[in-house]
Amino acid sequence: MKNSLFVVLFTVCLVIFAMNDIKAYRAKPDEAVNKTALCINGVTAVLLLLWLMNVRIGMPTRPFIDPIGMTVYEWVKELLA
């Protein structure tokens, strides 16, 4: 269950920030920082859509929790026993 207030606020922020970045890009299309900001906005929008569609998004932290973190935790527990 998504928090509706969060979704609305987040979308509003994203739209405002993206509009600003588009404006900056149109003013200076050659500047790398404008392209970078637009790329980041694009990734954020895709992630938001996937999240709203209930698609499970894997973060790079996941391998360090399930296989690695859990294995090390069990090893430490054995060491403590």
Partner: protein
């Protein structure tokens, strides 16, 4: 824009202490005490040595390539492709640190203060402020840090006095009796938390004087270790190892044990309020470091302009990164340390070798890669100044003041000697702990005294560095 900004030695030290102490105080003590029980305060020596070595490496790089941050140095020494690859790994590390720090504080706030507030809203508010900080340079964070850090330090120093009635001296005894493998693992864990020092690599260009940079790193690391050691010691003295290892937030529980009077209730909230800006600045520092890294890779110098969009992306990432507190604890204490243990020892020698090769190539080509060593200049100047009995300080007519003041180098040697002495006390303590407990108790006392003297020497070293840099 990046080139114009600058940090003073004091600001750099404060930021470093904030970076190294804020998240470990929330999560690390529980893990360290679980592994090494009553010997947890002694495990900080591992972190101290590791962070001092890492700081030396960063200062060395900064001396070779002045006015460059770690990301830019990587690109210079390893080339565009190699440098970008190393920078991506470094960015991944900083990304992990940012997610961990944000969620650690998020869960802490949720458990302690705001259990009914939705996580998403808390994160949104947190990131909106973070975005605001990201719109300015690191100087703003440094100035805010100057406002709050003294208050935090005073609060930390006041804690032992406020808790003195709760101390149980029997809780910490016997000393140095735990199994060495467990103490070693605890030491390794503390080292990996202090691996966050790599974030400061993004701000190497902010300090003009390498002498000051070196002194700042050393004072920051030693002060951080002393703070962590003090907290661990207080936890063991107040709760004992068994209760501490079962607490989720032992530092907060420690503040809950302050009973000043009947009408002055919930003093711990006062401490939370004091520590909140410090924790926020820590996150802002990591956030700005990450933006600096992205700006370096994408060749866009003005990182402040990506702050709004980047903040929103990080907000979503932090939301998806952990499913709960157990995930976060597994990641922070067992997953991320593995990443740090494997990545940092691989990346550092690679960069050192590449730097040496680049320097030799440049020397062979008859070019000077590095500028004249400022440190040597400063040392030479101070030696001459010291020989004249002034060394940049106001001349005093008293007989004691006529003696030439110690140079920074001498204070640095004294600091190193006391670090070595603390190590020696730890080794002797563990060697004698099981058989001769009075000797081990003496070693424990010697360890704490060495740390305090070491902090004093580092402070003097920092002060001298300031004077020497002013003379240069």
């Amino acid at each position: 824009m990046i080139q114009k900004t600058g940090l003073s030695e004091r600001q750099f030290t404060m930021l470093l202490v904030t970076l190294l102490t804020a998240p470990p105080l929330i999560n690390l003590p529980h893990s360290l005490v679980q592994l090494s029980k009553g010997d947890a305060p002694f495990t900080v020596i591992f972190a101290l040595i590791y962070a001092l070595a890492f700081g030396k490496y960063l200062v060395w790089l900064s001396a070779k390539y002045p006015k460059k941050n770690l990301f830019e140095i990587h690109e210079i020494v390893l080339g565009r492709i190699g440098g970008t690859l190393i920078n991506l790994v470094l960015l991944l590390h900083i990304f992990f640190v940012l997610l961990r720090n944000v969620r650690l504080f998020n869960y802490f706030t949720k458990v302690i203060m705001l259990p009914k507030t939705p996580t998403e809203i808390m994160l949104l508010l947190f990131f909106l402020v973070l975005i605001f900080f990201g719109l300015s340079t690191i100087e703003v964070s440094a100035r805010v840090s100057e406002l709050f850090f003294p208050v935090q330090l005073l609060a930390i120093l006041a804690l032992p006095f406020l808790l003195i009635s709760q101390f149980s001296n029997f809780a910490i005894e016997p000393f140095f009796v735990n199994r060495l493998p467990l103490v070693g693992v605890a030491g390794l864990t503390s080292c990996t938390w202090f691996g966050d020092i790599v974030v400061m690599g993004a701000f190497l260009q902010m300090m003009a004087s390498k002498t000051q940079l070196k002194a700042s790193f050393r004072l920051g690391v030693i002060l951080s270790c002393c703070i962590l050691c003090l907290f661990l010691l207080m936890m063991v003295l107040v709760y004992g190892p068994n209760i501490t290892e079962n607490q989720v937030y032992p530092s907060f529980s420690l503040a809950m044990q302050i009973f000043i009077t009947d009408f002055l209730d919930r003093v711990e909230m006062f401490f939370v309020i004091i520590f909140f800006p410090g924790y926020f600045l820590n996150t802002a520092l990591v956030y700005i470091a990450m933006m600096l890294g992205i700006a370096t890779i994408t060749k866009s110098r003005d990182y402040t302009r990506i702050s709004p969009s980047f903040g929103l992306l990080m907000l979503l990432c932090s939301l998806f990164a952990f499913r709960g507190l157990i995930d976060l604890n597994l990641f922070a204490n067992y997953g991320l340390p593995v990443f740090v243990i494997f990545i940092e020892p691989l990346a550092i020698p690679l960069v050192i070798i590449a730097t040496v090769i680049t320097e030799r190539k440049a020397q062979a080509a008859g070019q000077a890669v590095s500028k004249p060593d400022e440190k040597e200049q400063a040392d030479a100047m101070t030696t001459s100044g010291a020989a004249q009995g002034r060394g940049g300080e106001r001349a005093d007519s008293s007989p004691a003041a006529k003696r030439p003041p110690w140079t920074r180098k001498k204070w640095a040697q004294a600091t190193n000697s006391f670090v070595a002495l603390a190590c020696l006390f730890t080794v002797v303590g563990f060697a004698t702990g099981l058989d001769y407990q009075p000797v081990a108790a003496g070693c424990a006392l010697g360890f704490f005294v060495s740390l305090i003297v070491c902090l004093y020497c580092a402070m003097k070293e920092s002060k001298r560095a300031l004077i020497e840099a002013a003379n240069t």
